[in-house]
């Protein structure tokens, strides 16, 4: 009697499948929601800073000043969006958000260059978004330096002094994501985040619904064991989650053009482990929540730490150890490493053993807690 009964487990699975089939709207949401979210956020979470809207106040209005502006625009970091005629105008535009940067070229710019004097170019940056500010100032600096070096070169060549040799030059090569496109980095993470949140709501609802409708009362006077009930509830949703995951993954690769370096099969296999973990998390929520509304609130409360602590937003390496540990309570944390590892670096299972183990431990832990919390009693 204490043993796991296959008959009871299969009964739950069969019953769930029938109920899911009859509840078309919910099934639709489970399958379509991830796709919609991927499209919505896939475009929204573009953290690349480029095409910064820039105002230009060109007081020199010379051949040289126009060259300078075009070399700024060439970097693609700056868009010469507006031309202004005064400080006042520039400040107003930065204040009301029309532009995020402003370039000011003094009236004597060309004259000073011709006379081999130092010319000053001013850059205004809206610092409220530090990410934009950093990118803008770094790139402006680089652009100007390059320009200055090139001028120096031509001048020295003219004077017959030969080429200017730079004593040191940095040659960096970016591995894994050579164009440093944020979409390549973000889409795999986004897929994980979406799947976690959609699937955990599925099981949380499924169990709480039984409490709300009163069917739980009949179920808990039977010899059903919590483990049988929980695994029975999870099983059909693993399949639904898997189909959904495959669709979203395919979209990520073919629609968003994120190249998959590693094995598609390995990714799918590990996604099953991930889905089991997130679905069990949903079951755990349902042992706390009494209504579907509460289950929903719990799931939403879980989203924020998932986004912030899993490594989705910020790299985990720089977080304090305690925070890293807390991040370990989010299944997405492990799956992010797996997703990015397989997607971007093309690693195999041996390189991911830590995260695979982490996920297995998380699943076992949360299942145990859920079983301990689940009482075959009424409140």
């Amino acid at each position: 009697m204490k043993r796991f009964s296959l008959s009871r487990y299969l009964s739950i699975v069969r019953k769930e499948i029938i109920q899911i089939k009859r509840d078309r709207p919910s099934l639709g949401i489970a399958l379509i929601m991830p796709i919609m979210l991927l499209f919505l956020f896939g475009y929204a979470v573009n953290t690349d800073v480029d095409h910064i809207r820039t105002a230009v106040w060109d007081q020199s209005k010379s051949q040289q000043s126009r060259e300078l502006i075009s070399s700024f625009v060439h970097t693609e970091y700056f868009d010469a969006a507006v031309y202004a005629e005064s400080y006042h105008e520039l400040e107003a535009m930065i204040d009301n958000g029309t532009v995020d940067a402003a370039i000011i070229i003094p009236p004597d710019y060309a004259h000073r260059l011709d006379n081999h004097e130092q010319a000053d170019v001013q850059l205004f940056i809206n610092g409220s978004d530090p990410n934009i500010a950093r990118t803008a100032s770094a790139n402006a600096m680089l652009t100007l330096q390059n320009k200055a070096i090139r001028m120096q070169e031509t001048r020295m060549e003219k004077e017959g002094m030969g080429k200017l040799e730079q004593p040191i030059e940095l040659q960096s090569r970016v591995l894994f994501n050579p164009n440093m496109e944020s979409i390549v980095f973000n889409i795999p993470g986004l897929i994980g985040l979406i799947m976690q949140n959609v699937t955990m709501i599925l099981t949380a609802f499924s169990l709480v619904r039984e409490k709300e409708r009163g069917t739980m009362e009949q179920l808990i006077v039977t010899p059903i064991r919590p483990l049988e009930l929980m695994l029975g509830k999870i099983t059909p949703y693993v399949f639904i989650g898997f189909i959904s995951f495959t669709i979203v993954l395919t979209l990520g690769i073919f629609w968003f053009g994120v190249p998959l370096k590693g094995s598609f099969l390995l990714l799918l296999t590990l996604s099953i482990l991930f889905l089991i973990s997130t679905l069990t998390l949903g079951i755990f929520f349902s042992t706390i929540a009494k209504t579907q509304l509460q289950a929903m609130q719990l799931a939403f409360a879980f989203i924020l730490p998932s986004v912030l602590l899993s490594g989705f937003m910020f790299p985990r390496d720089t977080m304090p150890v305690v925070i890293q540990w807390i991040g370990g309570l989010v299944p997405l944390t492990y799956f992010l490493e797996i997703l990015r590892g397989i997607f971007l670096k093309g690693v195999d299972a041996t390189a991911l053993w830590q995260d695979i183990t982490g996920m297995v431990v998380f699943f076992s832990l949360i299942l145990t807690v859920a079983i301990l919390r689940f009482r075959k009693k009424m409140e």
Partner: protein, 257 residues
Amino acid sequence: MSMAIQCENLTKRFGPRVAVNNLSIEIPKGSIYGFLGPNGSGKSTTIRMLCGLLVPTSGTGTVLGFDVMTQSEEIKQRIGYMSQKFSLYEDLTVEENLDFYAGIYGIDGPHRKKRKEELIAMAGLTGRETQLAGSLSGGWKQRLALSCALLHEPELLILDEPTAGVDPVSRRIFWDVIHDLAKKGITILVTTHYMDEAQTCDWIGFIFFGNLLAQGTPQDLIRQLEVQNLEDVFVTLVQQEEQRLAAIQPGTKGAAQ
């Protein structure tokens, strides 16, 4: 005579409210025990403690020889329970509900088929096998619930207001089934507000405000209180208790809340 249910000083509190107060009852095996009392008197709460759905605040009890505090899983295997509110799956058909509970009780293969046929015939559900449970009318829902509670051939059947809101034909069928089961040696604990049903029980327990006020055969109770019928027993007991309470605590009108 050995007892199917035996409990002593069973008490259940919900916060400050005492729902069941020092209840002691004994139900002999193979008998029909009718549990009567006004709304909110504690019938369902008592039943839920006996089924292992609620943990008693204090007191002791055994069901089929198993302790209600520590052996609720053993009890659950051997009893059939029908709750006051319909609690089968409305989005499953009649047959799917039966199949589900058959699987839960580990009834498989030809035995399941036989059992299902028997119960569908018994409950008069023939021809409605593929109808969604949610679309059944009140009486039919109750018959289906009874069938599910009987699938595993329990030794004890606990029915919480099985005939509330049910038409006279379904009520007749229900009670015919109950009497048949009792003849086969199954013990039945049933709550009801219908006195004609109570009249046919072997034993009656009368509960009010969580207190068991009277217990005995219908005939004994009528004789003891010197009244005409069970309905008079019900009204007399309620009035006596309200007067008693009013005497102890003047100002407290003891109407059922």
